[in-house]
Symmetry: C2
Subunit: 194 residues, 2 copies
DNA sequence: CATACTTTTGGACATTGTCCAAATTTTTAT
DNA sequence: ATAAAAATTTGGACAATGTCCAAAAGTATG
């Protein structure tokens, strides 16, 4: 494992445990058995380090978030669940995004992308679900409401979970929020029985 | 205006503009025409300062969040709107709560309170709305879903707005999210016109 | 083997929050 | 009014942080 990868891996681990801003570069370097300036050789600023982690998350989720014709509600929920697990892997970032964006231009740009993309994918998939008769959407307003509510949950479930559901396992937390999205979808669902 | 109040007021102003962690005590002191150690006389640590601001917000919202018999949907939404305006006044805190809780025990405790209280009040008021026939709630699951979804919006709308809706005015932003909650409620609404 | 490139190091820098003893101002009691 | 006490303000120090740079060490290439 190359030095750069070792730094990224350990940084992610420590950032997830204690938060990006509470892990010092000297501590990280110490645990890795190197000097601070060795880290700054690969990542001139801490932001660069964080940025690289955020690229990893972006790439992970990009491959998952796709628009699929003949999508079922179950498949849509599975897609969201995969995204949720990735967010959990990089929770230090997800929890901090609002801050990071204020300071880190690179992250801000990519996050804008992520967000637009996520909204578009959710929206398009909801349209698919509607077209195929899995849900009934009357007008643009309803579509917009569903999209943005699901997007809000997808963006902030992990922050709420960190505060409210610490006692639950990661799997239980994810399950809870996926269920929430499902409940919301079922409100627009087409009753199959009669 | 006493020194302590001047510090609190200017700190809130600057924290709101640039974020709690990006405003240094020396800069704050400089603008107030005093030395850093004068701030630490009133607030031994920065956390103490932030904590006091968080008490102010807590108090503001405590007086608004009440359970009211014979509540209408409109009144419920007005209540939420008032809370939203208070959150805006202290947005530096609302945006940072997830972080602050990790480092500041005092804030963590009070935030736990805030959250429990808000959930309880929302839930109780929804029960009132249901009892009075403004909305139809079939079972505990539905009530729980409605409560937690509204609570999620109430907690994170401002973070999302900071990223997604910067171009909108504060009033428009609040309006957007209040509308969201209304749409959600109307899904459980009782159609008045046969 | 010598040269060039990459990687690692140690030490410096300004800035941060925190702390404390001394100086100053304000309040209180005589 | 004045002396004693208390509250406030100050300047300077501290350790820790992210950032930076010149030199050393290591590795690869001709």
């Amino acid at each position: 494992m190359k030095t750069e990868e070792k730094i990224l891996a350990k940084a992610l681990e420590m950032f997830n445990e204690r938060g990006v801003e509470y892990v010092g570069l000297r501590e990280l370097a110490g645990i890795l058995g190197m000097r601070v300036s060795n880290i700054t050789y690969y990542f001139p600023t801490k932001d660069d380090l964080v940025n690289r982690l955020s690229i990893q998350l972006y790439d992970l989720n990009s491959s998952i978030l796709v628009v699929k014709e003949d999508l079922s509600i179950e498949q849509f929920l599975e897609m969201m669940e995969q995204v949720f697990w990735n967010q959990l892997k990089y929770r230090c970032l997800v929890v901090s995004f609002v801050h990071l964006i204020g300071q880190n231009k690179l992250i801000a740009a990519r996050y804008g992308d992520t967000q637009t993309k996520r909204n578009t994918v959710i929206r398009s998939n909801l349209e698919v679900l509607a077209r195929n008769g899995h849900i009934r959407i009357k007008n643009e307003t309803e579509l917009e409401f569903l999209t943005s509510t699901i997007a809000l949950v997808a963006r902030f479930w992990i922050s709420e979970a960190a505060v409210t559901w610490q006692h639950l396992s990661a799997g239980q937390q994810i399950n809870h929020y996926i269920k929430s999205i499902e409940t919301l979808l079922r409100l627009y669902g087409v009753e199959s029985a009669k």
